[in-house]
């Protein structure tokens, strides 16, 4: 019943529909990479810098690795980085924002200032410096992106919690005897989470972009295959091996669009304002 409803919602929203279809493609590419990849992306063949042909559909890179296979495997890295970083940011943001918005008072003051401080940090440079200085392993990258990008979520959740705490059902829950903690986790967060879900989805895209930017600056994890690194390597072959940069870049765009579409679609579906638009007209 709920599944049907979800499917229906997805069907009715073009962005969601297209986004979900693209996401399925992405997931399939990532999951089935070992099956569908025509070559092992870690094997360095002797066919270096080969233009796209029948054997290497998207050509090879400077070390003779198959670009198509690398892109397929790279989807794994992108998805892992994107989801983990966005989840970290989402959880921190939700908790901090929820506490600040619902409890208010001094807690809000402290968290509010934390948000201010983090807003003043040049986030990308901060990520850049931490990754440059403390190592560019995937774990580092994910955690650092997550730890520096929660601010947006916290602000959203805080606003949500502040408006939710005015809502009758929260007061009702209080008057019925629920504890404040229980209300926060049972009512405030689940009801206020939608914009954060949408934002976190966008955050996945943001994290993927950040990771690729880092990789592009030579701060990628050399033990995994990532699209940013393909571009970073391929940039040396920009003119004579255009396929490396071009295809890996297209893969990034594809992925980022996917999450933007889903995020935007979710925003539309989940935003009460837009959702109620139809009702209001009837007045």
């Amino acid at each position: 019943m709920r599944l049907n409803k979800t499917l229906k919602i997805i069907k009715e929203n073009t962005q969601l529909k297209v986004g979900c279809m693209m996401l399925v493609i992405l997931f399939l590419a990532a999951l089935l990479a070992p099956v569908i990849a025509p070559h092992n992306p870690n094997i360095l063949s002797d066919d270096m810098v080969v233009a796209p042909n029948m054997k290497y559909w998207l050509g090879t890179d400077g070390l003779g690795r198959d670009i198509l296979s690398m892109i397929l495997y790279g989807a794994r890295t992108s998805l892992v980085v994107g989801f983990t970083a966005a989840m970290i940011a989402g959880i921190i943001g939700t908790l901090l924002g929820g506490f600040a918005g619902y409890f208010g008072g001094r807690i809000d003051g402290v968290i509010g200032e934390m948000i201010n401080i983090f807003m003043m940090m040049p986030t990308f440079f901060l990520i850049l410096i931490v990754v440059a200085l403390f190592g560019s392993g995937l774990f580092n990258v994910m955690v650092v992106i997550g730890l520096t990008t929660w601010v947006g979520n916290a602000k959203l959740m805080r606003a949500q919690a502040m408006s939710l705490r005015q809502r009758t059902f929260i007061k009702s829950a209080e008057s019925i005897g629920e504890s404040r903690m229980a209300i926060l986790f049972k009512h405030i967060i689940p009801n206020g989470i939608f914009p954060i879900i949408a934002n976190t989805t966008m955050g996945v895209a943001g994290a993927i972009l950040t990771e690729s930017s880092l990789a592009f600056l030579g701060l990628g994890d050399p033990n995994v295959i990532s699209w940013g690194q393909i571009i970073q390597n391929g940039k040396s072959y920009l003119v004579d091996g255009w396929w490396m940069c071009v295809f890996a870049g297209l893969a990034i765009i594809f992925t980022v669009i996917t999450f933007y579409l889903i995020g935007d679609g979710l925003n539309r579906v989940l935003s009460p304002k837009l959702r109620n638009l139809g009702k209001e007209v009837r007045g």
Partner: protein, 324 residues
């Protein structure tokens, strides 16, 4: 002669596969200089009616049929330029949410004089200001309101601004859409009295939309009862509210606590709730909630029938007889 006559006005909202008939073949007349109160609960199509007459419904997803004559001109098919001219000069509106009725980033006076100069472009800014201050005075507002922003006024004051705005060109028809609902009893009574006084002074015909029957009772000559997009009963206020013919009107009156009565006469509700307008009942629209409903009510929608001078009701059972 009727200033406004509405003939078979229907409005249908389309959204996806749903088609909501918000107004169903409405017929109404308002005579010049009279006042009509339209009573209806939420979802009865009150606002749709105004929006349809003023041609303010969004294009595309809404289908309007029927006619509405204002002063002899048919509004629904009127050309855009003529419509623009007619708006506000011949018919003006006081909105429900007066707090949001004006641009929040413009000073009240500036906005009002801008509106004034749409229809009177030849008027200088100075003269426009004088006129606006006059209008503000008319509704008992100090002239300094001219230089204030909407958010700086209280609800009552904003409502007065809205009224002043609507009276700008002495419109023939003044429509009030729940104009006083959000106000306190005392303020509401005061503003209503002022409106009634002004309309006498300026010769304005008033159409008033509300869910509060006491407002209609105290200020309107005629009343029309709207339910789920259908007109169920209309007539002189003193007739309809004292001796309602339609079971719905009767139910409404019974659910209203009577103050003057000393005894605790138990209140009664109308059971059930509004039908889904995308799939209305086959018979009478009120049938599912009607305590008197009989088989016939389930089969056909009764038509509006006259019961004396200007008195109409749409019920098979009204007047103790079966009307086919």
């Amino acid at each position: 002669m009727a200033l406004l006559s509405i003939r078979d006005l229907s409005v249908t909202y389309h959204s996806g596969t749903r088609h909501v008939k918000a107004l169903n073949s409405l017929n109404l007349d308002i005579n010049e200089g009279e006042s009509l109160g339209i009573v209806g609960e939420s979802g009865s199509g009150k606002t749709t009616l105004i929006m349809a007459i003023l041609r303010l419904l969004p294009k595309g997803s809404v289908e309007i049929s029927g006619e509405a004559f204002l002063n002899g001109k048919e509004l629904i098919s009127l050309k855009q330029e003529e419509l623009l001219k007619m708006r506000w000069e011949e018919m003006a509106l006081v909105f429900q949410k007066s707090m949001n009725a004006l641009s929040p980033v413009h000073k009240i006076g500036v906005l009002m004089s801008d509106i004034y100069r749409i229809h009177k472009p030849e008027v200088s800014k100075r003269d426009a200001r004088r006129r606006i201050e006059e209008l503000l005075e008319l509704v008992n507002l100090p002239s300094r309101v001219y230089d204030l922003y909407p958010h700086e006024l209280s609800g009552g004051m904003m409502q007065r601004v809205s009224i002043a705005l609507s009276l700008m060109f002495n419109p023939k028809l003044l429509i009030l859409d729940e104009a006083t609902t959000a106000l306190d009893v005392v303020t509401q009574t005061q503003i209503l009295e002022e409106i009634v006084a002004l309309e006498k002074k300026l010769g304005i015909t008033r159409m008033m939309i509300t869910h509060d029957m006491s407002v209609v009772a105290s200020t309107c000559k005629n009343v029309a009862v709207l339910y789920a997009g259908c007109l169920l009963e209309t007539g002189l206020t003193q007739d309809v509210l004292v001796e309602p013919l339609h079971p719905y009107t009767q139910g409404l009156i019974k659910s209203f606590p009577v103050f003057d009565n000393d005894t605790h006469q138990p209140l009664q509700s109308i059971g059930g709730s509004l039908p889904d307008l995308s799939s209305p009942p086959p018979g009478c629209i009120f049938e599912p909630r009607c305590i008197k409903a009989c088989d016939m009510c389930r089969e056909s929608m009764p038509r509006l029938k006259e019961y004396g001078q200007g008195r109409f009701a749409a019920c098979h059972l009204a007047g103790g007889e079966i009307n086919v």
